[in-house]
Amino acid sequence: MIESFTLSTGFGAWNAVFWVIAFVIAFIIGWIIWSRGEKTYDTSPGATAPFLSGNAEPEKEAVHIRAGNLYWGYTDALAGYYKFVKPFHTGNLSDYFLAYLFVTALVLIVVVILK
């Protein structure tokens, strides 16, 4: 069975069954360590709260990191460009269509005249 699951690349072999066995062994070791822990600890919400120098835990919205915050470096670096471009985006559909016409005209001029 192990042979049927083996995938052999140019540099060696890879077998999912070994991965499963490794995870099972790691899980057993972790479970043994966990079961030897202290079981008589206090489980009330006051005792299991995170230690923030005595302050209350803030609500999740206050400390939430949005997806838009992850690429802040990109946004920060292009801030100058965004400042220039943003006023142009008026939200008015006719303006966008005008922009489309201008760009099409420019492309046609470039293609036709400059060939």
């Binding site: 206090d42 005792a47 709260a49 230690f51 005595g54 302050n55 209350a56």
Partner: protein, 145 residues
């Protein structure tokens, strides 16, 4: 003074200032400095109440600190001992009729050892820690039995 085997090497202390003038805090730090050297007994100051056995509370409990002292007390693991250092936490001290205080410390958390003084000498604080150790040994026996 005989230390029990459980606390042979470590009695970790967490200090909370609930609005004091810092006089008692200075005396606590003086008690932990090399002149009296309690670190040879394993007594040291830790940064989190979860690591601590003894909670040293100084100061009268101001209104803003009341909830925070309660939370810190709840976040300590049993067995724990609370020591109130200084007279501010026992009867208000010089702030005895202030409008912004929320009672002596034993109205907020249960206190085991009181060390009076304004500020108490480091020797007095060490004597209080000795009493706290004796009480901790009794508590440890009760928790394990």
């Amino acid at each position: 003074m005989k230390l029990s085997p459980s606390f042979n090497r470590s009695l970790w202390v967490f200090h909370v200032n609930s609005g004091s003038c810092n006089g008692c805090d200075i005396e606590i730090v003086a008690a932990l400095c090399p002149r009296y050297d309690p670190e040879r007994f394993g007594i040291k100051l830790v940064g989190s109440p979860r690591h601590a056995d003894v909670l040293l509370v100084t100061g009268p409990v101001t209104h803003q600190m009341r909830d925070r002292v309660k939370r810190v007390y709840e976040q300590m693991a049993a067995p724990k001992v609370v020591m109130c250092v200084g007279t501010c936490g026992q009867s208000g001290g010089v702030f005895y009729d202030s409008y912004n205080l929320d009672g002596p410390i034993d109205q907020v958390i249960p206190v085991d050892v009181y060390v009076p003084g304004c500020a108490p000498r480091p020797e007095a604080i060490i004597y209080g820690v000795v009493q706290a150790i004796a009480k901790l040994e009794r508590l440890e026996k009760e928790v394990s039995s």
